[in-house]
Structure formats: C-alpha cells, structure tokens
C-alpha cells in the first residue's frame, strides 16, 4: 500500500503540473493577446473563455473520452486510459482558467502604461514582459487557480484515465474508490495527502508571488 500511495501521489502531481504547465504555455500568450488587442470580436472571445472557466470536468471528460475512444476520431492514437489522456482533459479544464485570469490581470493595468513603455523605447516583446512583471501577483494567482482546478478534479480523470492501478490511478480517483469500498481510513489518509500536496505547490507559488512585496 505504501508504495502504491507514493506512486499515486507522484502521478497526481506529475499529471496536474504538466496540465498546468501546458495551460500556462497556451493561456499566457492568448490571455495577453486578448487583453491588449483591439480586435472587434475580443469581447465575444473573452466571454467564451470566461464560460470555459466554469467547464464541468465531467463534461470535459465525456468529450475527451469520445474523441480518444477506440472508435473515436483519435482512437488510433491509443491514448484512452493513459496518463496522457488525463493530461489532455486537465489541460482543457485549466487553460481557460489561466487565459481568462491572465486577460483580466493585464486589463487591470493602466492602459497608459503601454504607451509609457513604448515611449521609453521598449520593443513589443519588452513591453509585454514588462507588463507581465508588473502584473505578476494576479498572474501567479491565475497559475494557482489553474493548478487548483485540476489537482482537485475527479470526473475527467476517472472517465478518460479509468482509475487503473499502477497506470492511471491518481489521488482523487483513489479517494473515490476507497470511499466506495467503505475504507474510510484509507480515503481520509489520501485526502490529507491531497491537501498537503495542494498546499505545498501553492506555498511555492505564493513565495514566488510575494517576493519583493512590502
């Protein structure tokens, strides 16, 4: 059981960090672009992204499962019931969160700050990285919210991962299983582990976020 717990915890952490990382990779540029561009359809896209922030994990799980199912459009990739399937589903859950919160973080900055930076000779990329640094508190909050949304979700992991022992069992699916079996002690132990894990990751991000804040 002890090695099992270690394995489950590590997989949870790996899958959710991966999904959060990919979400950051997509969400930071996309959210920045949505915040800064003067595109006509910008508000419409933002409303879609904000709806995406409230996507129920089971709905995401359903669509990813249908897509990766052996007879589905991407069935040939044999990804269903693998950790990669969980990462895909969790990325779909976290990316709108990171994108939407990134956009709102940058929209909160004074719009004249962009003019000021350009007026001091910043290139477009220097301007954007300066804005990110200026908005680093809400941006790291966006990252924490993204991680929080996936480390705690169970529906999608269950549906596309299948809760297979030694392969796709993560903390949340294991808790569901143990509770179903009436093994409350195990379920409680796993829950405490999940909370500690979430705490440690957020502690790390908070320390980065609050660095230099007085």
């Amino acid at each position: 059981m002890t090695t099992d717990i270690f394995e489950i915890t590590l997989l949870s952490l790996k899958v959710s960090l991966f999904a959060t990382g990919i979400s950051l990779f997509i969400g930071l540029p996309l959210g920045t672009w949505l915040a800064l561009s003067q595109l006509r359809g910008r508000r419409f896209i933002l409303s879609l992204i904000n709806t995406g922030m409230a996507l129920p994990p089971v709905v995401v799980g359903l669509f990813v499962a249908m897509t990766l199912w052996r007879s589905g459009p991407l069935g040939g990739l044999h990804l269903i019931y693998t950790p990669i399937a969980i990462i895909i589903a969790q990325t779909i859950i976290a990316a709108p969160v990171v994108t939407g919160l990134t956009a709102s973080a940058l929209q909160q900055l004074d719009p004249r700050l962009r003019l000021q930076l350009l007026g001091l000779g910043a290139s477009p990329i220097q301007m954007v990285t300066s804005l990110w640094r200026e908005a680093r508190l809400p941006l790291l909050a966006a990252l924490m919210a993204g991680f929080g949304s996936v480390i705690s979700e169970v529906g999608a992991s269950m549906m596309v991962g299948g809760n297979i022992r030694h392969q796709t069992r993560v903390l949340t699916t294991a808790i569901v299983l143990e509770t179903g079996k009436g093994e409350f002690q195990n379920a409680i132990a796993l829950s405490i582990l999940l909370l500690i894990l979430a705490y440690l990751v957020n502690l790390g991000l908070t320390l980065i976020q609050q660095r230099g804040v007085r």
Binding site: R112, G119, L120, G121, A122, S130
Partner: protein, 360 residues
C-alpha cells in the same frame, strides 16, 4: 538657422469620425523648447502621441530630420525619443530600476546603465531614494523619477505631457525650475505640453496654441501673448479685455476705434470702417482715482466704476464698468493704498501702444 528636427505637414487625426487634431504646418528646431498650450481636450496629447509615433495620423506627414518618419523602422524611431506623461506611471520596482528601464530596453552594458542611471538620479536630486520601491514615493519624487527615466536615455527629442499638472503648487514650482535648468544645460529638443500659461512662458522658446484640435498660432511667447492671432487665442492666453469696434479714423499709423460710443486710440494701419477686436492685457491697465486730473503720455482714459474685485495671490483683478467692462490687474499693495472698493469711481488708463488690434 538651426536644423529642423521634426516637421508636420497637413496632419489630420480623427477618432470615430471626429477630427481631434489638425495641424497645417509646424516645425520644431534642434535644441528648442516648444511649449504647446491649449485647454483640456484641445488635442495636445494627441499631437504628442503622433510625434512619438504612438498614433498614426489619418492624413498628412511627419518628418524627422527632413525624412518621412515611416522610412525608418518604428522601434528605431521610438528609441530616438523619450516620453513623460502627466502620471509618472512607475513600475513596481526600485527607483533605480525604474530610471534604468529605457537603458535596459536598449541593451546597454550593465556598467554604463549603472553609471548613467546614478548620474541622473543625482541630477534630479533623488539619489537617496535609489533603493526605495517606486510606489512609495511622493507625487513630486515620482515625477522626478519619471523625468530622470526620460533624460537618462539622452533622447534626440523629449516629449513632456503636462508633467506637473498633478502636483501641488510648491512642488510644481521647484520642479519647474529644475526642469528649466536641465533643459538649458542639455539643450535637448523638447515638446512641452501644458494648459498652464506660466509654465509655457517660463520654458517655451516658442509657443504653439491648440484650440479645438486646431493649431491656431505658433510664435515667440511675447508675440503670442501680446499679439494673439484671433479672438479665441486672445481669450485663452489671457487678454481679458476684448472689445468689438469699428475703425472710425486712421491716420499715420494712429487709429481711433469706436466701440459703444467710446473713442479709443490704438496704433496700427487698419483702414477706416473695418471691424476690429480691441484687445488689452489686464497688466497694461493703470487705475487712478477719478477726481484727480491725470497728466500722462497714455492716450486712453476711461472713466467708470469698479464692478468687481477678485484677489488672486499678490494681485487683485479689478473689473471696471466704463460702459464696457475693462479688466485691470493691479497689486494688492496698490489696491490697499488707493483704498479701492467695489462701486468706487475710477479712471482706467492705458497707452495706445498697449492695444492689440485683431481685424475681423
């Protein structure tokens, strides 16, 4: 004659179908300080953004050293200028890092960044604040940091957008004097935007007047302030007495203007019968007790009664009803010694040469 750094020809900027800026022709010469004045919403900031290449005009052309600015890469052009806005807009970093920002954007070596940043922190008298987080500066300190951040770049053109309008009066006065000295020492070509006439008079080698988005007049401060090109410019630059009249007689450069039954003397060459605006600056009007017989070389003596006295700082603005309202600006000392009060009869005296006639 100095080289022209920036030139504008037939500029039009529109925002949602409305023309917000219209400049026929304006040249800014190497080393000069051009003060752009106008009330709020006159298009002053828009002009600055166009010069900084942060806004493209719909019509017209901006030239840099004789070449259309589009011939040069946008970033290269923007790195020739430095912008200071009304709000200092400092980043959440130390004062040093804020002031060094422009140099870091340009990828200068660390040693040079440090040397130049420290030099300008010293010149703006904020070196002792170098490690302080910028969001904990007072308004005046923050604007000093913002100025240092622009000067340190050693730009070819410095663009200042009302940098002092958010500051309290004593801070503003000190900073204005320091900026005046720095501009004289560095001879950086500067476009300085303000709605404050005193700032324009102090800093500007030349003054441009923008009203309702249109460039109305450009010239030396004394010319703009004493010879405004039209009635609206006159009203804005503080020629408070503007009387509409007709030239009743004109001979040898001496003109008699008739307005509301009064005959006023001025100097000029408008032909008889033309409609004119008769403009007087309040500083040019002398008040005396109506009973005393006045012997002086001044050609115009108008008798009237004091309608209104408004103190402003060391001065008192006195409105005299002489059939027409005439506004005089006198010192508080004069007002006290003469025991002036509202309702009292006085004589307003001014020289024919103090009158500025604008034909209509």
């Amino acid at each position: 004659m100095a080289e022209t750094i920036l030139g504008m020809r037939d500029l039009v900027v529109r925002r949602s179908e409305q023309t917000v800026l219209q400049v026929g022709s304006l040249d800014i010469e190497q080393g000069e300080v051009l003060a752009v004045i106008g009330p709020n919403g006159a298009g002053k900031s828009t002009l600055l953004l166009v010069l900084g290449r942060l806004l493209n005009p719909q019509v017209g052309q901006v030239y840099f050293r004789g070449k259309p600015i589009e011939q040069e890469d946008e970033l290269t052009y923007r790195r020739r200028i430095a912008l200071v806005l009304q709000e200092p807009l400092l980043m959440h970093q130390s004062v040093f890092d804020n002031v060094a920002a422009g140099l870091k954007f340009r990828g200068l070596p660390r040693g040079e960044v440090k040397r130049r940043t420290e030099e300008w922190l010293k010149r703006l008298d904020i070196i002792h604040l170098r490690n302080r987080p910028a969001h904990r500066l007072s308004g005046g300190e923050a604007q000093r940091a913002s100025l240092a951040r622009a000067f340190v770049i050693q730009p070819e053109v410095l663009l200042l957008d009302e940098p002092f309008s958010a500051l309290d009066a004593p801070t503003r006065t000190r900073l204005l004097q320091d900026l005046h000295a720095l501009l004289a020492e560095t001879s950086i070509t500067t476009v300085f935007i303000t709605h404050d006439l005193d700032e324009a008079l102090l800093l500007g080698d030349r003054v441009a007047v923008l009203l309702g988005g249109v460039l109305r007049q450009v010239g030396r401060p004394q010319d703009v302030f004493t010879a405004p090109s039209d009635g609206e410019v006159a009203a804005f630059v503080g020629v408070e007495t503007v009387i509409a009249g007709k030239v009743a007689a004109s001979q040898n450069g001496q003109i008699i203007v008739e307005a509301d039954g009064l005959h006023l003397e001025a100097v000029g060459d408008a032909p008889t019968g033309t409609s004119v605006l008769f403009c007087l600056r309040p500083e040019d009007i002398t008040l005396s007790h109506a009973d005393g017989s006045i012997v002086s070389s001044a050609r115009n003596h108008l008798n009237g009664r004091i309608m209104l006295m408004t103190p402003s700082g060391p001065l008192v603005r006195v409105v005299v009803d002489c059939g027409l309202p005439v506004v005089a600006l006198i010192t508080r000392g004069s007002a006290n010694e003469m025991k002036l009060m509202e309702g009292q009869p006085v004589t307003a005296t001014f020289k024919a040469t103090a009158v500025h006639l604008i034909p209509r």
